[in-house]
Symmetry: C2
Subunit: 348 residues, 2 copies
DNA sequence: CTGTTAGCGCGTTCAC
DNA sequence: GTGAACGCGCTAACAG
């Protein structure tokens, strides 16, 4: 309403939007006081606070966070790097992360890598432009460039969805290797003779590769003398349709297999439904195990035996660790193993 | 390496990170020239450009986008408001949106509402703090406060996932009503006698409600004289498990129904798998239709008859419309109906 | 508890 | 084609 005095000198554009100075003028205080009301309401008298708050409402002021960021050197954002937005498990982790961070006043900015280390590099660089106060990453394997950029940024970093002895900074996850070794142990206990690992693996999907490792070491331990059988196809999309494709390929290649261990529930579900179509009795003729405990695992007939991983909790725990660090409290722990759980259902 | 000259006067913190001035010093040019190389590489001599680019690499400079935003009054971000991050259909829309926007140099910042209009208001306000250059919204129904905030922001807005005669600004979507009316028409053509609408509806999920509307008008048109039968449960989560719950409730309430129209494939899939368990033959004893054409629809046995909606394309088209506007080109159209398609499979 | 002052890192404007 | 000066909107530091 009130036209602000035109400044002399070099003419600039200015924003059309209401500034803190506008609010201050309406409230009859200085801009600094408005700022204080916004960031520490207890630090001023109730009357001042109310006057300012009324002015904020009447002017419909919305604080410009870019200016705040520049002046305070805190962006109040956390960058999250995940393989794919549309992959439900990572979306769940994000939801956990975001829920906790929002409560602490942080916004999450997301970058996705499409399972490529090169793209991860580009994504991290791009996100650094926003000067996030912390980073959240899926995976523990990164290019040297990524490690160096994050080290130079000198901000808290949490890696997740895997396990390593030497994280960049902090870690919350579980061991993909041990998870598959546990699956092989279960296979042995249940009397299966020839468990086979079947998976798709995008080039940068280290977690899938770690699962294969776990299968291999599990076989050495629980099936001594038997060569591991694995079928891993690169560049197959992570869809149920791929599961059906992989089922046929695995049956052709390892006809004597009595149990297929899939690297993901999505593939396992596709395979199980394909078995229904092909008239293959599960688990009598062929047993199937998945990984991830997606919701569908519990709805299929028979239910899918699988390994549950703490998708949401990883996000939540990561967020808590970050908030703690950002408040410069003493971190509870540098690494947090949330484990996995083998869920026994009908399919194996 | 080179310690910057300590400035006199009021001591500030400064960032530890490399600034444009540092790069300029290394390259032996002014900061201004560095800025120009970054945003208009053609606008200076190749030698200058190379010197600057070398300096950027050697210093590992990453531009501070908050400062850029403040100086240029363009944040190069687009805000996207969706009901849930972990809902696969919206994640797909986001992926489409993000892919196209990234190419144009824009980053997407995401807010989620949990299907609540109140939360949408808070989310929009919060996102406005980042001064996005444009907004993307799922849905066409919003509170007055949301409409007002967006109007005052005076930036391009695209709404999606629905249809309305009077969008806030631009619109890319389809009619949920017509989609369900088409489903009822299909039911009638296929000889079903008592199609029943079954759904879950979170309080702020207007799309689900519009589908119910479409069912009701479809019934009036194609089943004159028959009262519509619908079972809509509020506050049931959108999961396959809810589908199984709803199946039982619907059978108890409308025992003579021969076709259940679910408001989402997730529910329909859960119901179809529950039928397998209960020994109900689909479609002979009970037919089932879904909505959304999720991947599972094509893998189930029988395949799920459903209505496909352009999840990814809505995001892509929205992004194209926004980019066009942001480049202040003449918009191709204010509204874009991407339609829907009934996919006939075995379940109905 | 509140006001004043200076400057965060960059892009725009203008001069050369 | 390149440089100098100024200010975007906000907050830290300091004074009272």
């Amino acid at each position: 309403m009130t036209e602000p005095e035109k400044r002399q000198g070099r003419r600039r554009f200015g924003t059309n939007s209401v500034t803190m100075a506008d609010v201050a003028q309406v409230a009859g205080v200085s801009a600094q006081t408005v700022s204080r009301v916004l960031r520490d309401p207890e630090g001023c008298t109730p009357q001042t606070r109310e006057r300012v708050e009324a002015a904020i409402r009447s002017t419909r002021y919305v604080q410009n966070l870019a200016a705040s960021h520049l002046a305070s050197n805190r962006s109040m954002t956390v960058a999250a790097v995940i393989p794919q937005i549309a992959a439900s498990v990572f979306a769940e982790t994000l939801q956990g992360l975001s829920n906790v961070l929002l409560q602490a006043g942080y916004q999450v900015i997301i970058g996705h890598t499409d399972y490529s280390h090169e793209r991860e590099e580009a994504v991290v660089r791009s996100l650094l432009g926003r000067r996030p106060d912390a980073f959240f990453l899926v995976g523990t394997r990164h290019t040297d460039a990524v490690r160096e950029m994050l080290a130079r940024a000198a901000i808290p970093v949490v890696e997740s969805w895997a396990w390593t002895r030497k994280p960049i900074d902090q870690l919350v996850g579980f061991s993909n290797q041990e998870a598959l070794a546990a699956a092989v142990a279960y296979a042995q206990r249940s009397g299966y003779r020839h468990p086979t690992f079947v998976g798709a693996a995008r080039p940068g999907d280290d977690r899938a590769r770690e699962r294969l490792d776990g299968y291999t070491t599990g076989m050495a331990r629980h099936y001594p003398g038997q060569a591991p059988r694995s079928l891993v196809v690169e560049n197959l999309p992570y869809t149920m349709g791929s599961g059906s494709t992989l089922l046929e390929a695995a049956r052709a290649r390892f006809p004597d297999s009595d149990l297929l261990l899939f690297s993901s529930d999505l593939l396992a579900s596709g395979a199980l439904l394909a078995c229904q179509r092909l008239g293959i009795a599960v688990p009598r003729q062929l047993a199937i195990m998945g990984f991830g405990d997606y919701e569908i695992a519990r709805e299929l007939n028979p239910g899918l035996t699988t390994i549950a991983v703490p998708t949401v909790r990883m996000g939540e725990e990561a967020a808590r660790m970050l908030v703690q660090r950002l408040r410069s409290e003493t971190p509870a722990a540098r690494k947090r193993d949330l484990g996995f759980e083998l869920i026994e259902r009908g399919s194996a």
